[in-house]
């Protein structure tokens, strides 16, 4: 009885924590309301006003756009810069591409995070909560775009990445980069509307665009979507990421957890009872001799 009672409580406690897992948090969000940004790379002139605006808004690095010659090299975002503009020499001439967190619809980082420090908010931005993060960097390992960046040089490191200007959105403003863009390369709006605009542009100017909207289906759809004049693999995008939302890769495993948690103990108890006989080391000797000498354990 003792044993069973103990096992039962443990199991219930354990699986209450896991069986009730809410694996489909994304259902809470309304896809219609989900906001994002459309980047039309054919319009970008590489002025990097967005980089400056981003740095100023979020108190991270503000690049010296005129003198740093940063377009000559391929950069990635870092723990000091949430977004970068890179230049690609292509058949359609120089193409400038702004890169940052894609604000995935079903974000790998958020589903990876053990403490929900990475959170896919209802409106769409994926944001980080410092008071929850334990710094395990599972979000970095999981993000298909390698966007979360970690402060390796800090005793109290933060995860740094684009927040889609979550605070500004709350105040009813546009993201800083969009507000700063002089060429309408960046369009802020609901993803549904952005997709419509993107399709329109392709439809109206079929020769100016490749007929693909990056982020429409990639990794299950992203908040940022891109238009381009050249195939996306020529301007630094991975085209082998697939269309399956990344959290689904671990979903099956997680679904099997409650099953194992209940099934295996039941199976093992049954097996044990089936075999019968005394437990090894169950002290047959105890009744006959004093416990101190109470051998049996080593046999």
């Amino acid at each position: 009885m003792d044993r069973r009672g103990f096992l039962k409580t443990t199991l219930v406690a354990g699986s209450a924590a896991l069986a009730g897992s809410d694996l489909s948090a994304q259902e809470l969000r309304d896809p219609e309301e989900f906001v994002g940004i459309l980047v039309d790379t054919t319009r970008c002139i590489g002025c990097r006003a967005c980089e400056v605006a981003c740095g100023e808004t979020h108190d991270v690095l503000v690049p010296d756009v005129l003198n740093d010659g940063a377009l000559e090299e391929q950069r990635t975002t870092s723990d000091k810069q949430w977004m970068v503009v890179n230049k690609f020499e292509t058949e359609a001439g120089d193409v400038f591409v702004k890169r940052q967190c894609m604000h995935c619809y079903q974000a790998a980082c958020a589903s990876a995070c053990p403490t929900e420090a990475m959170e896919k908010t209802k409106k769409g931005p994926v944001i980080w909560h410092g008071n929850r993060c334990i710094g395990c960097r599972y979000c970095m390992a999981s993000c298909p775009f390698d966007m979360p960046k970690f402060e390796y040089g800090e005793w109290n490191p933060k995860i740094q990445k684009c927040t889609l200007c979550f605070e500004r959105l709350e105040e009813g403003q546009k993201p800083a980069c969009v507000a700063a863009c002089p060429t309408d390369t960046l369009m802020f709006g609901t993803r549904a509307k952005n997709l419509e605009i993107a399709r329109h542009r392709i439809y109206n100017h079929p020769d100016d665009y490749v007929h693909h909207i990056y982020g429409e289906h990639e990794v299950g759809g992203t908040g940022y979507i891109y238009l381009s004049a050249v195939p996306f693999d020529q301007i630094g995008f991975r085209t082998d990421l697939g269309t399956r939302p990344y959290p689904e890769y671990t979903k099956e495993f997680l679904y099997s957890v409650p099953m194992v948690l209940f099934g295996v103990p039941a199976f093992l108890l049954g097996l044990n009872a089936l075999i019968g006989g005394p437990q090894p080391g169950e002290e047959k000797a105890v009744e006959f001799e004093s416990g101190d000498q109470g051998g049996g354990d080593e046999h």
């Binding site: 096992l7 723990d79 420090a117 970690f150 040089g153 800090e154 044990n272 075999i275 354990d297 046999h299």
Partner: protein, 399 residues
């Protein structure tokens, strides 16, 4: 009143007893001490630096390589090698195979310490360990996170393994009542421990499922959790063979002679088990390879490296275990166990570090500090193990 007096009496008795037990036994200037003490000391200094200046000050981790040697070797590999405890408690307590009973205590102790130290190494690796209580009492639970599951299971498993081992502690401390009680809940904790082990051994593999585009396709598969689980079984068995061979040499004077089940017999049994599991594992690997139509990948450096792991360190040691069992050759079995263990190390590192971003121009390589800290962890574990084994009735009942 009188209970109070007995409690204080018992407490002071235990305190004196503990002080007595803390004193070193045996000579100080052994080769192991001479090597391990400076390493442990250096490791502590490195850890202090890490906590002041950040992970970047002592590791080669980067934005491209968020997980390195501490996670890939200490945690992922260390936990696989600690699998012996759940395998052997299954055999002894669930299947009631008396033969292996004599190695249960040492194996569980090894497992417990391995979890405390290797899973505990996560504390150095994660960036904000002072918030590590978050997944437990947390303001938020990441239910959809494999890491969340692993955090919980490590913790619960340590509790279970400690309860499994606790009768030995009670016996050592002379707490007879506690010992009887703890003994009586062994089966329940064993079953809990096995269940948790199944989940987190496979869970460690599941950590890499979302890293699909970053891991070389020869190592990524949606079946990584199953592969990790199956290989943990033979990893555990090989580790028991390896460890007990060493401890039988080092602690020879502590081990009573068991006339019914000779130590060699036990090793042969373990070898047979390991061989079977390794063949199953190999078969599964081969199936995935053929099913994934990966022939085209085999003809470059990564392909050869894959073959080294799968043939050289799974198939061959598998055959050696089988051969050693057939021909009753302990030496072959011992060599096979070392090879099988190396194979596990290779596999876990291949998945978590070596083939991670195999396309990167500059690949991660651990810094010397990362390696020293790893050695520090191993050495400290051995120190504690030695202390426990020479004081508590690990190999035999007390007194």
């Amino acid at each position: 009143m009188s209970t109070n007096a007995t409690v204080t009496g018992e407490f002071s008795r235990f305190f004196h007893f503990l002080m007595q037990e803390m004193k070193p036994r045996g000579p100080w200037l052994t080769p192991f001490n001479v090597i391990s003490i400076p390493v442990i000391f250096t490791g502590v200094v490195i850890i202090v630096i890490r906590f002041i200046y950040g992970l970047g000050a002592v590791t080669n981790l980067s934005q491209d390589f968020p997980w390195g040697f501490w996670l890939g070797f200490d945690v992922i590999t260390g936990v696989a090698l600690a699998a012996g405890a759940y395998v052997i408690t299954f055999v002894v307590y669930v299947m009631k195979v008396e033969k292996y009973h004599s190695i249960v205590r040492i194996t569980v102790l090894n497992g417990l310490l391995a979890y405390i130290f290797y899973a505990g190494a996560l504390v150095f690796d994660i960036g904000r360990p002072w918030q590590a209580y978050n997944p437990y009492i947390g303001n938020k639970f990441g239910f959809s996170s494999v890491m969340f599951l692993i955090c919980w299971h490590f913790f619960l498993y340590m509790v279970a393994a400690f309860i499994e081992f606790s009768p030995v502690v009670a016996e050592w401390a002379g707490w007879e009542k506690a010992r009887k009680f703890l003994k009586s809940i062994t089966l329940a904790t064993v079953i809990l421990g096995i269940t948790l082990s199944i989940l987190h051994q496979s869970g460690l593999g599941a950590l890499f499922l979302m890293a699909k585009p970053k891991i070389h396709p020869l190592w990524w598969s949606e079946f990584i959790p199953v592969l990790f689980l199956v290989s943990s079984v033979y990893a555990g068995l090989a580790m028991i063979i390896f460890e007990s061979t060493i401890s039988h040499r080092v602690f020879r004077h502590l081990i009573p002679h068991d006339p019914k089940h000779s130590f060699d017999d036990i090793l042969f049994g373990l070898a047979k088990g390991a061989a079977v599991v390794m063949f199953v594992y190999y078969f599964f690997k081969a199936l995935l390879f053929i099913h994934g139509k990966q022939w085209s990948m085999i003809n470059d450096a990564w392909g050869y490296w894959y073959l080294v792991e799968v043939i050289g360190f799974v198939l061959i040691p598998g055959f050696m275990f089988a051969f050693g069992y057939r021909n009753r050759s302990l030496n072959i079995i011992k060599i096979a166990s070392v090879m099988a263990l190396l194979g596990i190390v290779l596999n876990r590192l291949n998945v978590s570090v070596i083939s991670f971003k195999w396309y990167a121009e500059v690949h991660y390589f651990p810094s010397w500090q990362e390696i020293v800290v790893t050695l520090m962890i191993i050495f400290t574990e051995i120190w504690i193990l030695r202390w426990v084994v020479t004081r508590m009735p690990v190999f035999k009942s007390a007194h």
